[in-house]
């Protein structure tokens, strides 16, 4: 930071980050404040840039698939799926339909666990820690299912170029159905605790506004864009995996809640409704799961030989829990790709913070920042965190305390 942080006149500079537990992800915010109100915002990502693309451009595609698994700790499948889809297009590898369906099932299970994780974090940012624990407890069911299907809770290692590495056996299908029934039974309860709670509504309704036009201009995607009324969802717009066979519609904030406002509350609604949508998609996939192979080629040397001959470029994109995830790959007949560009979902959503945070109170910053479900490790493509903090910084306790105090204050007025 520069000397600005110590100046004693309005607007005051309040730095938050780069590593700040109230933000959950490493990013540096600098707020210009007038009293409690945010006048302007600046942010600097990149505190955890690991140069994964650079590493990938020195490895072969089969190695990169395992590298892509490690781009993000929450989205375990979207990056490997995007990358594999790009390479499959270059090499014209035909993925067996069964593998497409298995990819879709895991893709949606991931969305369920990611949205529940987010719901817990959002509850925590508002000072509802009991709700955080409830949300994360029910999330365990999807984590267990993912572990059962792939062998891992994170870094699934399920996607291979040309298919998937593990089949879903007939014994596992009842387990998945059990899991779906579990979440179906919880949906109403989750809606009640999140949406019928007057305090959550007061803290979130009308805060962190992103207009339809701003969402378009700032290239917002996923639930962030949909909560502002932009009907975009890669699963609906652009067929891939099993989605070409399914009926998926972008989830927008429904009329019964007054249509899209583009606030934090709408982002909660969209994510909760998307959990229900994911359950339906998995059910459809299980009902129509085709039989057959799960890999285009089982023998790795043969696969590697095909990949080595590949020439061309392609884009692989999928709808990650946070929005469109896109990989551009260009190959020129060598082991390693010439170019590999990762565009994670949060990369497109970060700019939306600026209009969202302007004019808001400091105590609302944590929930607004969290409302786009930022994933800095995706955006920065890294995961190393260093100790830090200096006396001029708000501690996590202080910021969380501010947020909790505001909740209590509102409860009293009510």
């Amino acid at each position: 930071m520069n000397g600005d942080t110590t100046k004693k006149s309005i607007p005051y500079t309040v730095p938050i980050g780069p590593v700040h537990p109230a933000l959950k992800e490493p990013v540096m915010f600098t707020f210009q404040m007038e009293g409690e109100v945010v006048k302007s915002v600046d942010f600097a990502p990149g505190n955890t840039h690991r140069g994964i693309e650079w590493m990938g451009m020195r490895r072969n595609p089969v190695q990169i698939v395992h590298l892509t698994d490690r781009i993000c700790g929450i989205c375990g499948i979207v990056h490997s799926l995007s990358f594999a889809r790009a390479v499959e297009q270059i090499t014209e590898i035909e993925v067996p339909p069964r593998a497409d369906y298995i990819r879709t099932i895991l893709h949606e299970l991931e969305r369920i666990q990611s949205h529940l994780l987010w719901a817990g974090v959002a509850a925590h940012e508002l000072g509802f820690d009991s709700l955080l624990f409830l949300a994360w407890r029910v999330r365990e069911q999807s984590m267990d299912l993912i572990e059962n299907l792939t062998g891992n809770r994170v870094n699934y290692g399920i996607v291979q170029i040309g298919g998937v590495r593990r089949d879903i056996s007939n014994d596992q299908i009842p387990l998945i159905k059990q899991g779906l029934a579990y979440y179906r039974g919880l949906l109403d309860q989750m809606k009640t605790v999140f949406l019928d709670d007057s305090t959550i509504r007061m803290r979130c309704r009308g805060h962190g506004l992103l207009s339809y036009r701003d969402a378009q201009l700032l290239c917002a995607i996923g639930p962030t864009a949909r909560a502002s009324g932009v009907a975009m969802d890669v699963r609906h717009d652009y067929p891939y995996c099993a989605y070409g066979d399914l009926d998926v519609h972008p989830v927008l904030p429904p009329q019964e809640f007054g249509g899209p406002h583009g606030d934090v509350y709408d982002r909660i609604i969209v994510r909760l409704l998307e959990i229900a949508q994911s359950i339906n998609i998995i059910q459809q996939c299980l009902d129509n799961l085709p039989a057959g192979e799960i890999l285009w080629e089982k023998k790795l040397p043969k696969l590697l030989l095909t990949l080595k001959k590949a020439q061309g470029e392609a884009i692989g994109r999928v709808e990650a829990p946070r929005g469109e995830c896109m990989h551009y790959v260009r190959m020129d007949g060598n082991d390693a790709p010439v170019t590999w560009k990762v565009k994670a979902s949060s990369y497109s959503n970060l700019m939306s913070w600026i209009p969202m945070l302007k004019g808001e109170q400091l105590a609302d910053v944590p929930i607004i920042v969290a409302s786009i479900d930022p994933c800095m490790s995706c955006t920065d493509r890294v995961s190393v965190i260093r100790d830090g903090g200096s006396p001029g910084y708000l501690t996590k306790e202080e910021l969380t305390r501010l947020s909790i105090e505001k909740t209590r204050r509102i409860e009293k007025c009510h």
């Binding site: 990149g46 717009d237 560009k341």
Partner: protein, 212 residues
């Protein structure tokens, strides 16, 4: 804004060819179908004169307001190719196409106009291309570094494949690096590393990341 009706990928290309003529070097459509029904998704690739980049993007905005994804780049030796990746017609069931505009910049003149006046959300991507490819985006509203740290050497561009790229001496063999000396003492004393027999030389070279 008046919206043109939904077009087929070929109609989009035809519109561009009619408007820009010889300025379009190459235009092609790639398609891909997956799942049981193999419903097709389309990508449109348009390579054009560098002067036509902004008119081409304006044209796309006139067709239907697109979503801007990212700018990708290729180091082709004498030139750097920038690919502006958009998608258009989102919200239409299976009717969205990726539209990629490719322009080439010779390494003697790596300047490209900003597109943030048309698409403010492209700012992060433009900042990233400046630091990773060493291009200059003229009139960029905010030209600071984005991902690279402030102490990263000037004049080194990680995605370049020439002498300005990452130099071999910058690549540290992670396995050989000890704990940094300039950090505070950890709150809990670190365990002394167990005397390990280093694995075979050849194997470690591979994991070091410099398999060029």
């Amino acid at each position: 804004m008046t919206e043109t009706p939904h077009l087929s990928p070929q109609e989009v290309i035809d519109l561009y060819k009619a408007e820009f003529g010889a300025g379009i070097h190459d235009a092609r459509i790639s398609e891909r179908g997956e799942g049981v029904h193999k419903t097709k998704g389309y990508n449109i690739w348009i390579r054009l004169d560098r002067e036509l980049l902004k008119p081409a993007i304006k044209k796309l905005i006139d067709i239907r307001f697109p979503h801007f994804a990212v700018i990708a780049g290729n180091d082709l030796g004498e030139e750097i190719e920038l690919l502006y990746i958009f998608s258009v017609f989102y919200g239409t069931k299976f009717g969205e196409y990726m539209v990629t505009f490719g322009i080439r910049l010779p390494k003697t003149d790596l300047t490209v106009p900003t597109i943030t006046d048309l698409m403010p959300g492209a700012l992060l991507s433009e900042r990233e291309k400046q630091e990773f490819f060493g291009i200059t985006v003229s009139d960029i509203p905010d030209g600071r570094r984005l991902f690279l740290p402030d102490d990263f050497p000037q004049g080194v561009y990680p995605w370049r494949k020439d002498e300005t790229g990452i130099k071999p001496e910058m690549v540290r063999e992670l396995w050989a690096i000890d704990r940094p000396k300039d950090r505070p003492v950890p709150p809990v004393p670190e365990k002394k590393p167990v005397e390990e027999v280093p694995a075979a030389e050849g194997k470690e070279k591979k994991t070091g990341g410099a398999a060029e």
